[in-house]
């Protein structure tokens, strides 16, 4: 026997993550990926995402690459690969393997040549009607699989689309054929996308788009397909894996919230302080000017995805604002930015200020800047901030922004579309607070109103988003999957409440959740959380008063709740004490609180108008 490699010294996940995070995905050799994935597997830490691979292609080559690229973005995976070709049997799960793995996400990758190779080989000989029937058969198979998976597992499902053949069997003539291969694949993929859209927990994983992004000629390797039933080339695997990591970050709510941009030579060509407003290069038919114009458009599109924009620039504030006010030809307006830090202070100071004002973590920021010195300073001083150094060529700015994989969402919700607006309102509220003489009159002048009601099926996506993303005002930080949230609505021992808020500046949307569990003797507050932008105005008290009323209505003798301290939930450490609960037990990991019926007194939040239903 050959001696195994000597045990490597203990490396933590955080160390591995920081050694990987600046590496381009094409820089990993196959040998290195194998070694790194083994190291990740050996870590004793709990996984961030449990991922199950199902399909009729060999996914064993993809999985280690995904694990390494997920670690590069701070996610530790626990993967399970179902036996080749058993995507249905795996769901039936007679030996309970899949259920024991308890996947957060199930990925299904099917190859049509494996699924219906017989019929596909005959494709050019088939009548148009038979081709259409074949497509319907495959779609029905997919929908049945999806529904079975949704029923049996609470996981989010990712179902891969089908890359169309780069060279159809009929060649160019395929496009003139009724139901040729081109049409067949387009309709099949469209059918799959629509089937997924109808089902909340099913998401299309657009493998076909990744293939075309990478280039079909290089993405497939017929030799590996024959040797191992693995259709993809070694060079394509990291690109496929990176796309999957985008989905995982989005599903897990680990996307970053705010893109912070520089101004000079970033949003426009030239330096406003030297070239003057009219001297700036932007649009106007000049190739470079048009490149900056396109970059602004791309940034603007991010605001519709629910990503915030902010400015961090060394400039005179008046000069910079004048550009926004006088250059009407700019795609980006002042109102597209949630915050502007334009002054002569060091960028790390301003980034801290942006995070503080918007009440988001430094690890929610992406800084985009054309200066290598600024980028390097921020990388050294605030490693949590993702830094993007713009390429020398402005024509490549858009691609550099698109490369940022941490800005993805599986679905854009109403709250996302209104986000910039609501964070700007937040800044206006802060201004009002400065003007108001005391806290009481400030709170009264806000005219806050809240509506508290049970979460309905239409609110599941937003509730899941709050469970996944709320870090600061979160008493237990329990992350629940979409499937869990769906189950809460029908479980008679569970009450899931949501709170919507608004004030004189506008609507805040659904911003708080309370998950209550009933046992025969008591009521337990399983989760109590609120979006951080609603903190500090008594809304949490209104929500807790509601919990107390539900407790009294339940007829139970005791209300129990837990505080699980995390590095992020510092603002809630005293919350239950302030709300009149007793601390009955305290360990290193958690604190237990209790309230009897006699103690269940409501706390004052009379400045808030509360509506319950």
């Amino acid at each position: 026997m050959t001696a195994p490699r000597a045990a490597s010294p203990e490396v933590t996940f955080e160390e591995l993550h920081s050694s990987l995070k600046e590496r381009p995905i094409s820089s990993f050799t196959a040998g290195e990926l194998a070694a790194l994935s083994r190291r990740l597997q050996a870590l004793g830490r709990a996984a961030d995402v449990r991922l199950a691979y199902l399909g009729n292609v060999t996914l064993d080559f993809l999985a280690p690459v995904v694990s390494v690229l997920a670690a590069r973005r701070g996610l530790l995976l626990d993967s399970y690969i179902a036996p080749y070709g058993q995507h249905v049997q795996a769901l039936l799960d007679e030996d309970g393997t899949l259920r024991r793995h308890d996947p957060d996400v199930i990925l299904l990758v099917l190859s049509l040549t494996e699924l219906r190779g017989d019929a596909l080989a005959e494709f050019p000989a088939l009548e148009a009607r038979a081709r259409k029937e074949l497509m319907n058969e495959i779609l029905v198979h997919l929908e049945q699989w999806i529904d079975m998976a949704l029923e049996r597992f609470s996981s989010t499902l990712l179902i891969a689309t089908f890359p169309h053949p780069a060279r159809p069997m009929l060649g160019l003539a395929d496009l003139k054929e009724e139901y040729g291969e081109t049409e067949f694949y387009a309709e099949l993929n469209l059918g799959l996308v629509r089937a997924c859209r109808k089902r909340q927990r099913a998401v299309a994983f657009d493998l076909a788009r990744v293939v075309s992004f990478f280039g079909a000629r290089a993405a497939f390797d017929p030799k590996m397909a024959l040797l191992a039933r693995m259709p993809w080339s070694r060079a394509f695997l990291p690109y496929l894996a990176e796309e999957l990591v985008r989905y995982l970050l989005a599903v897990r709510g680990r996307a970053r919230k705010c893109v912070v941009v520089d101004l000079d030579n970033t949003l426009w060509g030239g330096v406003v302080g030297e070239d003057g407003i009219e001297g700036l290069n932007l649009g106007g038919g000049d190739p470079e000017g048009e490149a900056y114009f396109e970059f602004q458009r791309r940034l603007k599109a991010l605001t519709h995805r629910g990503v915030l924009l902010a400015i961090c620039s060394k400039n005179n504030l008046e000069d910079a604002l004048e550009v926004f006010r006088k250059r009407q030809d700019m795609p980006l307006a002042e109102s597209d930015f949630a915050m502007m830090a334009i002054n002569w202070e060091p960028k790390p100071v301003n980034l801290e200020r942006i995070a503080q004002t918007l009440n988001i973590g430094l690890d929610s920021l992406v800084l985009i800047d054309d200066s290598p010195a600024e980028i390097s300073l921020v990388r050294q001083t605030i490693p949590e901030v993702r830094c993007v150094l713009l390429p020398e060529e402005p024509a490549d700015y858009v691609a550099a922004l698109d490369e940022v994989d941490e800005l993805e969402k599986v679905e854009v919700l109403r709250e996302d579309r209104e986000k910039t607006h609501s964070y700007r309102q937040q800044a206006q509220r802060a201004e009002l607070r400065l003007e108001s003489l005391d806290l009481g009159s400030y709170l009264a002048s806000l005219k806050t109103r809240v509506r508290i009601h049970r979460v309905e099926p239409s609110g599941v996506a937003r509730a899941h988003q709050l469970f996944s993303k709320t870090n600061q005002f979160n008493l237990t930080t329990r992350r629940y999957s979409l499937g869990d949230v769906e189950r809460f609505l029908t479980d008679p021992t569970i009450e899931l409440w949501q709170l919507e808020a608004g004030d004189r500046f506008g609507e805040l949307g659904t911003i708080a959740l309370a998950l209550l569990r009933l046992t025969p003797q008591s009521m337990e507050v399983d989760s109590f959380l609120m979006s951080c932008r609603a903190m500090g105005r008594g809304i949490e008290t209104a929500a807790m008063n509601h919990v107390k009323r539900r407790f009294l209505a339940s007829g139970r003798e005791e209300l129990h709740s837990l505080l699980i301290p995390t590095p992020k939930n510092v603002p809630v450490r005293d919350f239950y004490l302030q709300q009149g609960l007793r601390r009955v037990e305290r360990t290193e990991e958690w604190e237990r609180y209790s309230l009897s019926r006699a103690e269940a007194e409501e706390k004052d939040c009379s400045w808030i108008q509360v509506e319950e239903s």
């Binding site: 195994p4 194998a34 083994r38 040797l227 191992a228 070694r234």
Partner: protein, 78 residues
């Protein structure tokens, strides 16, 4: 040159099969290595192709079951 080639092959073997690269014997054979299963065999082949900038035929892939033979095939390809 021969030493350099040997070093590169050994490094890939050690990374893919989790072996100590200094103690890989010349007579290393697939039958004597625990982790050298069919999946890792293809990982090994792919990693060698990438490291050495060559592409093996399917027939060669089937024959690469020991270090000596791997060397022969690689040398013939270079």
């Amino acid at each position: 040159m021969a030493d350099e080639l040997s070093r590169r092959i050994r490094r890939v073997l050690s990374q893919v099969l989790d072996l100590d690269s200094d103690s890989i014997p010349d007579e290393l054979h697939r039958e004597n290595v625990d982790g050298w299963d069919s999946l890792n065999h293809l990982r090994l082949v792919t990693a060698l192709e990438e490291e050495l900038g060559v592409r093996f035929t399917m027939r060669e892939v089937g024959e690469m079951s020991n270090l000596a033979r791997i060397r022969e095939i690689v040398e013939a390809r270079q």
